[in-house]
């Protein structure tokens, strides 16, 4: 009798739900647009120059590239119910290790290989400590943060190690079809991350493991092994990030990528990833990174002092999240009527 009434509503509901992720990201796009507009209004003479604007966008993307790659890895770890505080330290260790004289003597491939291997191995150690040593991720990766930075300092003798390799350094200056290679690498990692999360069994397991580990286990998923793989993946992203940063700075050092862990977690969360696991999006994470990178850019072109920057930045973060929420709520509201 009454069943017919329920059905159309259910359909409508579906539409709204599909929109949730998109709406959130739309919110972030809106925030980015607002930041750009503020830039244009405050510095019209710069924004009047089309070449400058194009350059500026590439600059923003380029400065977002290494942390963006790291944030993709972090997003996987977070969705999988963990957290990786050691990302900055892994970058430092991988960067320093791949720029020792010995490693550099193997040429650019040797350096890239070293960075990736160091990243993956440290990630594996994190994963094993957490999965099999039963350490809380926060503590295990914090210990790794401290230890890896220590080892990086040991290896580098606390010196800034210069990369003499033209190929490696060239990564930061190369453009392909006018697009900086660093930006292309970021794009490739984001696309790969998106596919991995949304279109592969690995991604499905990640959501399951983070959303309800017990349910995942009882469904036959090897939760421990998967957890290890997630940290290894994060380590791999750090290895890639280390090469990108080394090429940008033409050097590596034990203190590099300082506090990347906070930046990556914040970007992922702003992009809609739950700190408690089970939910998150790669595109959102990318937008989260871009918001931060655009803020820095905005401050620079307006010559804001550090202290003013910080106060304003705190406010912008809060506003960005509120705007997102507001948009989502009001749009759902619209659909409700």
């Amino acid at each position: 009798m009454i069943t017919e009434t329920a059905l159309p509503e259910v359909r409508e509901r579906k539409r709204v739900r599909l929109d949730e992720g998109v709406v959130r990201n739309l919110g972030l796009v809106g925030v980015l647009a607002i930041l750009m507009i503020i830039g244009a209004v405050t510095r019209p003479e710069l924004y009047g120059d089309a070449t400058w604007v194009k350059n500026n966008i590439f600059t923003i993307l380029q400065q977002a590239s290494a942390i963006g790659v790291v944030t993709v890895g972090m997003t996987f770890v977070l969705i999988g119910g963990g957290v990786d505080l050691s990302v900055g330290a892994i970058i430092a260790l991988a960067g320093v290790w791949s720029t020792t004289l010995a490693t550099q003597s193997y040429g650019p491939l040797g350096m890239v290989f070293t960075a990736l291997v160091v990243g993956v191995v440290v990630g594996l150690i994190n994963g094993v400590l957490i999965s099999y040593g039963k350490l809380v991720p926060f503590i295990a990766t914090l210990a790794m943060l401290v230890a890896a930075r220590g080892l990086a300092a040991q290896i580098s003798g606390k010196q800034t190690q210069i990369s003499a390799d033209a190929t490696i350094n060239g990564i930061a200056t190369t453009k392909i079809l006018g697009i900086p290679l660093l930006v292309l690498i970021l794009a490739a990692v984001v696309v790969a991350g998106w596919v991995l999360l949304n279109r592969t069994t690995f991604g499905r397991r990640t959501v399951a493991v983070g959303g309800n580990p017990e349910a995942a286990r009882l469904a036959g998923i090897n939760v421990k092994r998967h957890t290890v793989l997630l940290y290894a993946l994060s380590g791999l992203c750090c290895g890639i990030g280390a090469i990108m940063l080394t090429s940008q700075a033409t050097s590596a050092q034990a203190a590099m990528a300082n506090l990347y862990e906070l930046d990556a977690i914040a970007a992922a969360i702003i992009g809609g990833t739950l700190l408690s696991g089970g939910r998150g999006t790669i595109v959102g994470a990318l937008f989260g990174v871009l918001v931060f990178s655009t803020i820095t850019n905005l401050f620079a072109i307006n010559n804001l002092s550090t202290e003013a920057q910080n106060m304003v930045k705190g406010g912008i973060i809060v506003a960005a999240v509120l705007i997102q929420q507001f948009r989502y709520r009001s749009i759902t509201q619209l659909f409700k009527r």
Binding site: M1, A6, K14, G211, N212, L218, G220
Partner: protein
């Protein structure tokens, strides 16, 4: 008491109450009338809106439209606190306790006896102890952490919390779902005590027999609307209740078993023990055979099932499926074992994920090619299963958290219909499932067995075990104390065995 109740005043009246969630009209014009001192039963299929209704009464949700009068006054509680202050206490369907607080702290959470903010722990403990005694459970220590209690114990604490308020109306949302037979009797004793004191009770259960025993009047909900109000609980024919609920008539019978199962067992459990949980359990299940395990809550059945599945490590003993040793969940699933665990929220569901992804949680890699998932195929398969199970609503893209409890349960069972499952372990598969869906689930289990799947079933409802199973094992205090073909047992015998009776003692498995 029903005569008495019919003469007492109406304390609660709902007229045309509406409550919508984004996209769902959970309540679509509900009428309800509750009198002082009566047990008013709410009946309805999974998702009919029963829990939503009581949450409106409890101040958890606010009605969008309609009128509520409570003790003659218009009533619209803005918060749970407001409802409690007005004398309405609620036992929620989902346990709402804090694991790391003690029994007493949970019972008095939000209205702790205190002096200058310092809790009066002795007072709270004493009052809790006396409520527990009144509930027939003086053995539950008031200072024990709730996380240490088994599910049934937690249900008792929820009741103690409701009784800790001076309520004029107590709402109970499926309180018997996690209770064993004798516990239900105990619950009824308490309900009678309450109503004798003029307290009204709203009682929700999917077990018609319970409504007959304890209820005075029944209101039936269907798709958020009242389809029948104030039916006499004892005399209304089942056929009528069911048709008011479902819009159709359901023959509530267990489908007859045609074939004899094959003799060669697929599952062999030999001498399995786990310290403090169960001892020396041995059993077999043949392809196409349904083996039921009966026992009290706390008799170790869930643990046995989880150990067979490899989710817990056995202290001693072996489990083999088709001659292969099962050592962990991975091996179990890989060799064709599946389990629908007891606690769906914590053990089975990804609450934020859509229904179809929950449905394919154990089989998505089977749909995948070279590690890439095949969402379309998965959705199609999940939709078919949803059809088979008559999932309501049929929409498999909805987050599963928005489904009613019974429908969630169907998804948990449905999960294993998708893969190549050869042995299915079911722990309380019909807990919280409505009559209609139950019949559908029974049919599904039968069809599976007919297709050669072995089934090992744990259920606290003895008729269910007897009606479904070919063979029944009875567990008590962690031991299998009896086993026999279902045809040779009747309800009383099983109950007696379960309760440490002596009828067949000394005649073990």
């Amino acid at each position: 008491m029903s005569e008495l109740a019919s003469e007492t005043e109406v304390v609660l009246r709902l007229t045309d109450v509406v409550k919508t969630f984004p996209g769902v009209r959970a309540l679509d014009g509900v009428q309800l009338e509750v009198r002082a001192g009566e047990v008013h039963c709410l009946l309805g299929q999974n998702g009919a809106g029963k829990s939503t209704l009581i949450k409106v009464l409890a101040g958890v949700h606010q009605a969008d439209a309609g009128e509520i009068t409570w003790c003659g006054e218009p009533f619209a509680p803005a918060s749970p606190q407001a409802a409690m202050r007005s004398g309405i206490a609620t036992i929620y369907q989902e346990l709402d306790l804090v694991d790391d607080l003690s029994v007493a702290e949970n019972a008095f959470l939000g209205h702790e006896p205190s002096r200058f903010g310092i809790t009066r722990r002795r007072a709270a403990a004493n009052r809790t102890a006396s409520i527990l005694a009144r509930l027939g459970h003086p053995e539950i220590p008031a200072r024990r952490l709730v996380r240490q209690l088994p599910a049934a114990g937690k249900q008792i604490v929820s009741m103690a919390r409701a009784l800790s308020h001076d309520a004029k109306l107590i709402v109970m949302d499926e309180p018997s779902a996690v209770l064993a037979h004798d516990e239900v009797e105990n619950l009824f004793r308490i309900i009678r005590e309450l109503t004798a004191n003029g307290i009204a009770v709203i009682y929700i259960s999917h077990r018609l027999a319970e409504l007959r025993e304890i209820g005075d009047r029944i209101t039936v909900l269907k798709d958020g609307r009242t389809t029948a109000a104030n039916l006499p609980a004892r005399t209304t024919p089942t056929r009528e209740l069911v048709s008011r609920m479902t819009g159709r008539t359901i023959e509530y019978v267990f489908p007859p078993r045609a074939e004899k199962p094959a003799a060669e067992p697929i599952l062999v459990v030999d001498g399995l023990s786990r310290e403090g949980e169960f001892t020396d359990a041995s059993l077999t299940v043949a392809p196409g055979e349904i083996v039921g395990i009966a026992g009290l809550v706390g008799s170790g059945r869930s643990e046995l099932l989880e150990t067979i599945f490899g989710a817990r490590k056995a202290d001693t003993g072996t489990v083999t499926l088709d001659g292969r040793r099962i050592t962990g969940v991975g091996a179990a699933v890989a060799s064709g074992m599946g389990m629908a665990p007891e606690e769906r929220k914590s053990q089975a569901l990804l609450l934020d994920e859509p229904v179809y992804k929950n449905m394919t949680l154990a089989s998505f890699s089977g749909f995948a090619r070279a590690g890439f998932t095949d969402l379309r195929n998965e959705r199609a398969a999940a939709t078919r299963t949803a059809d088979t199970l008559e999932l309501r609503p049929r929409d498999v893209d909805r987050p599963i958290r928005t489904l009613s409890g019974g429908n969630q349960q169907k998804v948990v069972v449905g999960r294993w219909l998708l893969g190549d499952v050869r042995l299915l372990l079911l722990d309380e598969p019909t807990r919280g499932v409505d009559v209609g869906a139950r019949a559908e689930l029974y049919q599904v289990i039968h069809d599976l067995a007919a297709g050669g799947v072995g089934v090992l079933l744990v259920s606290s409802e003895v008729p269910e075990v007897l009606g479904l199973a070919d063979r029944v094992l009875v567990m008590r205090e962690g031991r299998v104390v009896h086993q026999a073909p279902a045809g040779e047992l009747d309800e009383d015998t099983v109950l007696d065995l379960v309760m440490a009776g002596s009828l067949l003692e000394g005649n073990p498995a």
